[in-house]
């Protein structure tokens, strides 16, 4: 978590004795801090039970609780706590809200008729809260807010051994509460499966943490404007949506001349923009803000008045957003499967090749290829949810054909392996797909199409060897023609052209090159130009394959 810098002197907030009016702002702080983190709690929801989000329910419950005392001048701490419990009861929303109201009810009962709160009473109150909450359910489920309440009560009791100061006890239970929250997935399997901690437990943690943050003079109102260690500041987290007025992202590094008045700094920045973050390390501050175009330079000018600006950067968020959108559009567009149809799953070694298969009408893509063969399990997963029994698979690699055939033995579906040994073969087969045809006929048709295409593959030799009459040194660029070693040379261009020559590409019509992930675009252009000069009558297509290891996968047809 972030390390925060106190904005107010600490001592003043810890008043003694602790009567109702001292407790009141602590409860308010709980509410504010919970509300600040409401979305964090909501995001932890596991069950799609339609009784609202846990964070929202807890905030509404705490709000009702605080409303009951907002205008109260009650000094009797017991009476004040009862008012809070009453408000929580009346405003309880959802399961977590009801439990929270029971915690307050028990808490208040422990303070019955007491003028002030001391350490022993606080510990009793946590215990009473826990007991009351546990009585409200026949089968307490562990790994929930109940568990966190229980662990917190135990931690409070332990803390009493070390201190008799109420505020210190509160501080000491925070790590225990946090630990308890972190442990909830171990106790409740639905949380573990969803990879989250319990939402209600996290909410209770924020309620307790809010009190302690208040006591330490830390800001409560917005989670975003806390000061973080510079090293952990994450400003790359790009927002999913840009709100109006967030046209530019401005980041300024500066060294203030005088100690920075953070509260004023934030409020000044809020006049300019949103998504404010401030980081600090070794006296150097980094400020991050999103501003509208009109106020583009204001944060920099403003920061200059505070000290020495060491670095400033501006990024156009709108333009970046456009880029991301374009990228989204190029995502795979797989063909939906209708019941009874033939659905094809293709193994693709790269994003570009996957896109081509998608455009040819496959319904599923399995990532894999040379040196990264998918498991039988992955193959089974790829189609088990399709609403049809007729599944075709294109392994596109001779090493994957076996795994695909093993998958065929393991599934109840009618899985046909079209034995494509290379990507171009798979593509050629796809062109013959008739989704509504008779599976046997279509399979035969697709299998026969495999031989219509010649496949060239260009890669780097990993060892020195002599095969098929060709001598290869480690590190040389080699070409495989339909899986057989055909050419070896020290140059990508020479190997590629050599391959096309030995494949007698001048007898065919179309040459398609899929360039791999590690080939430079300018090399691709250079080689394509050379091919065009040598093979003037052939149509040359160049596509991004994105495959690893293979510089080019070439189809000749």
């Amino acid at each position: 978590m972030s390390k925060d810098i106190p904005t107010r002197p600490v001592q003043v907030l810890r008043k003694y004795p602790i009567d109702g009016q001292v407790l009141k702002p602590m409860i308010e702080a709980s509410l504010i801090w919970l509300r600040t983190n409401q979305q964090t709690v909501n995001a932890l929801n596991v069950f799609p039970v339609p009784d609202g989000d846990t964070g929202t329910n807890m905030v509404l419950t705490m709000q009702a609780a605080y409303d009951e005392i907002a205008n109260s001048a009650e000094h009797n701490v017991g009476k004040l706590a009862h008012a809070v419990a009453h408000g929580a009861l009346m405003g309880a929303r959802g399961n977590s809200g009801v439990i929270l109201s029971q915690l307050w009810r028990g808490f208040a009962r422990a303070l019955d008729n007491l003028e002030t709160l001391d350490a022993q009473t606080l510990v009793n109150a946590f215990h009473q809260g826990r007991n009351t909450a546990y009585k409200g359910v026949v089968r307490p489920v562990e790994g929930t807010i109940l568990t966190v309440a229980k662990d917190t009560a135990a931690a409070a009791e332990n803390a009493l051994q070390e201190t008799t100061d109420v505020y210190e006890i509160l501080e000491k239970i925070i790590p225990a509460a946090d630990e308890s929250v972190q442990r909830t997935p171990e106790l409740l399997s639905v949380l573990r499966d969803a990879g989250v901690v319990d939402a209600g437990g996290k909410g209770l943690y924020f309620i307790l943490e809010g009190m302690v943050r208040y006591l330490n003079g830390l800001p409560l109102d917005t989670a975003l404007i806390s000061v973080q260690p510079l090293s952990t500041m994450k400003i790359e987290n790009f927002p999913d949506m840009i709100e109006p007025g967030q046209d530019f992202e401005v980041v300024v590094d500066f060294r203030p001349d005088l100690p920075l008045d953070l509260a004023k700094f934030y409020s000044d920045l809020e006049q300019m923009g949103t998504s404010i973050q401030v980081g600090e390390g070794d006296g150097l501050y980094r400020m991050h803000i999103h501003v509208p175009t009109a106020k583009l330079y204001e944060p920099i000018e403003y920061t200059k008045t505070l000290g020495v600006v060491t670095k400033a950067s501006i990024e156009n968020l709108v333009a970046q957003m456009e880029d991301i959108k374009t990228e989204d559009e190029s995502r795979l567009n797989l063909t939906p499967v209708e019941p009874g149809q033939i659905a094809v799953v293709a193994v693709a070694p790269g994003q570009g090749i996957a896109r081509v298969f998608a455009s040819l009408g496959v319904s599923g893509i399995i990532e894999g290829g040379q040196t990264m063969n998918p498991s039988t399990q992955e193959i089974l997963h790829s189609f088990e949810n399709f609403p049809t029994d007729n599944i075709f698979i294109l392994p596109n690699n001779k090493n994957i054909i076996l795994a695909a055939q093993a998958a065929a033995q393991l599934t109840v579906k009618n899985l046909t392996v079209i034995p494509s040994r290379t990507v171009p073969q798979g593509m050629a087969a796809m062109l013959r797909l008739a989704p509504d045809g008779d599976p046997q006929e279509v399979a035969a048709e697709m299998t026969s199409a495999i031989d219509d295409v010649i496949t060239g593959e260009i890669t780097t030799a990993t060892r020195t060897v002599e095969i098929d009459g060709v001598k290869v040194l480690e590190g040389q660029i080699i070409a495989l023609l339909n899986g057989k070693l055909a050419v070896a040379s020290d140059d990508l261009n020479d190997t590629t052209l050599g391959l096309l020559k030995s494949a007698q590409a001048d007898q065919y019509e179309l040459i398609t090159l899929f360039y791999g992930a590690d080939v430079q675009r300018q090399d691709v252009n250079q080689i394509t130009d050379n091919i065009r000069q040598s093979f003037t009558k052939q149509e040359i297509e160049v596509k991004e394959g994105g495959q690893p290891h293979y510089h080019f996968i070439i189809s000749i047809e």
Binding site: N95, K135, V137, V138
Partner: protein, 118 residues
């Protein structure tokens, strides 16, 4: 009752099965301390039932599933909120298990248990 017929045969789900799911979901709901038979409105604490078919009534009219639940709630909780959370939890669990929509869930609060009077 609730059934589905395919070429392979039919699947029948008895009201008792649905009642069992309901019973467990209800008891996991916070604030509920027990289920009780609908006819016994007196001496509630003594008659909390262990059998899922008492305290839960499942009816199926050929189209809609209706579930009636008779509960005892902990004194000191907000009854309306507890009851509506029972309804939501039961609906979620039953629909998840059955894959069929539940048309109506009626929660009857038959009484309160007082473990800590304020």
């Amino acid at each position: 009752m609730t059934d589905e017929t395919t070429q392979l045969g039919s699947i029948k789900i008895s009201p008792r099965a649905i009642a069992t799911i309901t019973y467990h979901a209800t008891l996991e709901s916070y604030g509920v301390v027990g289920l009780t038979s609908k006819n016994l409105v007196n001496g509630l604490a003594q008659v909390l039932v262990k059998d899922p078919t008492h305290g839960v009534e499942v009816t199926y009219d050929g189209q809609n599933i209706t579930i009636d639940i008779y509960v005892v709630i902990e004194y000191g909780t907000r009854i309306k909120t507890v009851a509506s959370s029972v309804r939501n939890t039961v609906k979620y669990h039953v629909e998840k298990a059955l894959g069929l929509p539940v048309a109506e869930i009626n929660v009857h609060v038959q009484g309160l248990r007082i473990s800590d009077p304020d």
